[in-house]
């Protein structure tokens, strides 16, 4: 670890951080809202973002700082399946192309702000909507915490932070960054991350493109990098053959061996299905102006997947460049520190830290919207005015961020990572209620509820039982598929159980004629577009369309 701070790198970093802070507060005035006192304005940025803004916003939302730290870290550490992030972000776009325009239409017709709003309207069940909302909040919290972990890693490599053993003093810089973030999210809502995303993504693109062209040319080219890494992993496996055979160490590889091919594919598919169930991606999608904005972005957003793939390979570049760190997550920041001139290292560090602020803001807004719409409005104050809703959401967004901060600073980082792993498993259990609901009302609400409960319990239990060389529980995302020796992503197994229960019980409840509630939606609602009644071009805050 470096015990001094480079003045130039630090200066550039502070300059860029101050720039986005100003942008974050100025965003309140962006796109002429007369008032931010409704969830449509504060929580969805006026529902008027076009293709260009949505590309930055959703891109900044999905490809988070933690992704940018963690994905190359897994390759650096020699995980054979680490590169699954690339097929995952290919598979997700056809799914977004097909499913999300329908969710967009029905949400605009009925003024739904959250996925749980849709479930409430479709299935007429506050209970089902509540568990969908709570699952979303539960899965989002550790995700926000991990953005902080990403920031912490960069600050550590930069050498910012004191040596004090007191956790509060030690992490003061992180604390300050987060207070600033909380303040402008509170005042500007979704407009803040939307505007900051421009800066963040421009910086990230420049840094990554320079990194993947410049650094390999300095250390002997890609051919040399791949052969160095292959040789290094082979040496590791030979030296640790006994430990690997005993299960005390994991073998390293650059690509999956045959037995792990299903693991690789199931991680990609499960993560893709889970991604657009996350409240923050739904928030990003609902903030767009029209259906075609979503579809156009399904063709444009893969540019980020390309970037992510290149970035992942920086894990290998770090190995070939001789970067030695105990915590693999520091490999890429450390690579930047060693290979770039100080001012550009400052740009790179700022890019990652700002890259954490954007998704952290969107996630806290999404979680706050879930609380406000599906707990506060549904159970506590059923006659809440749009203004009360906005106030409630603003306060909750502060609380959510503060919770995530305490999480990372006071509890262990591993705990946040374990919970993030579980978050993926949990959020996928909301898929049957949301996605199937977009096409048919055949499923019974209580069957969906039971399926959700089974999927949550089964998935958590499976994850609890996974041992790794360093952990007794929650050691990884893979278990043997029941009845086979093939490793598969837990979330996918749990959602299959979820679906089996939901379908079987739907037959039972229908045979028993259990009340299925009143569907608020009509078939044509799933095809509505901007300009139809109830779907204004830009919603005016005085007349929100909440049904």
């Amino acid at each position: 670890m470096i015990d001094h701070v480079n003045g130039v790198a630090f200066g550039v970093f502070i300059f860029l951080f101050l720039l986005v802070t100003v942008l974050g507060f100025a965003a309140a005035r962006w796109r002429r809202a007369t008032s931010l006192d409704s969830l449509d304005e504060w929580g969805l940025g006026g529902r008027g973002f076009g293709t260009f803004i949505a590309w930055f916003l959703i891109g900044g939302d999905i490809y988070t700082a933690y992704t940018f730290i963690a994905v190359p870290a897994t390759l650096y550490a020699g995980s054979a399946v680490g590169f699954f992030a690339v097929p995952y972000t290919i598979v997700v776009y056809p799914l977004i192309f097909l499913f999300l325009p329908r969710l967009w239409s029905v949400s605009h017709r009925h003024g739904y702000v959250t996925p749980a709003d849709f479930v409430q309207g479709r299935y007429d069940s506050r209970g089902l909507a509540l568990v969908i909302a709570l699952t979303g909040i539960l899965a989002t919290m550790p995700y926000i915490a991990l953005q902080l972990v990403g920031m912490q890693v960069v600050l550590e490599v930069m050498g910012i932070g004191t040596d004090s053993s007191n956790w509060f003093i030690k992490d003061l810089p992180l604390f300050l960054a987060f207070i600033v973030l909380a303040a402008y999210t509170y005042s500007s809502g979704l407009r803040a991350p939307a505007l900051i995303a421009f800066v963040k993504d421009t910086l990230i693109y420049i840094v990554i493109l320079v990194a993947v062209f410049y650094i390999p040319s300095q250390i002997g080219g890609w051919d040399h990098i791949f052969s160095t890494v292959t040789q290094g992993f082979a040496d590791f496996n030979t030296e640790n053959a006994d430990a690997i055979a005993a299960g005390d160490a994991a073998p390293k590889a650059i690509m999956p061996p045959e037995p792990l091919q299903w693991a690789y594919a199931s991680l990609a598919l499960g993560s893709a299905l889970a991604l657009f169930m996350y409240p923050h991606s739904v928030t990003g999608v609902l903030s767009t102006r029209s259906r075609s904005v979503i579809r156009r972005n399904a063709a444009l957003l893969p540019a980020y997947s390309f970037l992510l793939g290149l970035l992942a390979l920086l894990g290998f570049v770090a190995i070939a460049a001789g970067v030695k760190v105990d915590n693999p997550q520091q490999s890429v920041p450390q690579l930047f520190e060693e290979q770039f001139s100080p001012w550009f290292a400052g740009v790179a560090f700022a890019a990652i830290v700002i890259g954490a602020l954007v998704p952290a803001a969107i996630m806290s807004i999404a979680a706050a919207n879930l609380w406000t719409r599906n707990v506060y409005k549904a159970f506590i104050n059923r006659d809440a005015t749009p203004k009360q809703e906005a106030t409630q959401s603003k306060l909750t967004s502060l609380l959510v961020k503060f919770g995530a901060l305490v999480f990372v600073l006071a509890l262990s980082k591993d705990f946040a990572i374990n919970l993030q792993l579980l978050g993926g498993v949990w959020i996928l259990q909301t898929l049957p209620a949301i996605v199937i609901g977009l096409y048919t009302r055949w499923m019974h609400r209580w069957a969906l509820f039971a399926g959700w409960a089974v999927g949550m319990a089964y998935g958590t239990w499976l994850a609890y039982g996974v041992k790794s060389p360093v952990q007794d529980h929650f050691g990884g995302p893979l278990v043997n598929f029941p009845g086979t020796e093939t490793k598969v992503y837990i979330a996918l197994i749990a959602v299959i159980a979820n679906l089996i229960v939901a379908v079987a019980l739907t037959f039972v409840f229908r045979a028993m004629k259990v009340n299925e509630g009143v569907d608020q939606t009509r078939p044509q609602d799933f095809h509505a577009d901007a300009g139809d009644p109830g779907v204004e071009e830009e919603l005016s805050p005085e007349a929100p369309a909440h049904a």
Partner: protein, 101 residues
């Protein structure tokens, strides 16, 4: 793909069939790991496994573009089938006036 059992616009479903046909490889190929889980042939120093997955991103985009234009037309037909004007003009049936449900 349809909400209602009534299918008046068959050309909408044939368009959707074509869209599914276009998008299916973008989902199946990345998940068919055995297809690309190998070192050779290399390209500019990259093992096949890596450069093929980068190529898949481009293939997926190339398939999504025609699907986008097909979906524009399919959406218009779906709207008509559900009693909405083909392009939003503010006159579509309002929330209270129902179709068959």
């Amino acid at each position: 793909m349809s909400d209602a059992p009534v299918r008046s616009g068959s050309s909408s479903s044939s368009r959707w069939a074509l869209i599914y046909l276009l998008l299916t490889p973008a989902v199946i190929l990345p998940l068919w790991v055995a297809l690309y889980d190998r070192e050779d042939p290399k390209l500019a120093g990259f093992p096949f496994y890596f450069w093929f997955q980068f190529a898949l991103i481009l293939i997926a985009v190339a398939l999504t573009l025609p699907a986008y234009f097909l979906a524009q037309g399919a959406d218009r037909r779906d709207r008509v089938r559900h009693g909405l004007p083909p392009v939003p003009d503010g006159t579509g049936t309002d929330r209270k006036a129902g179709d068959e449900r």
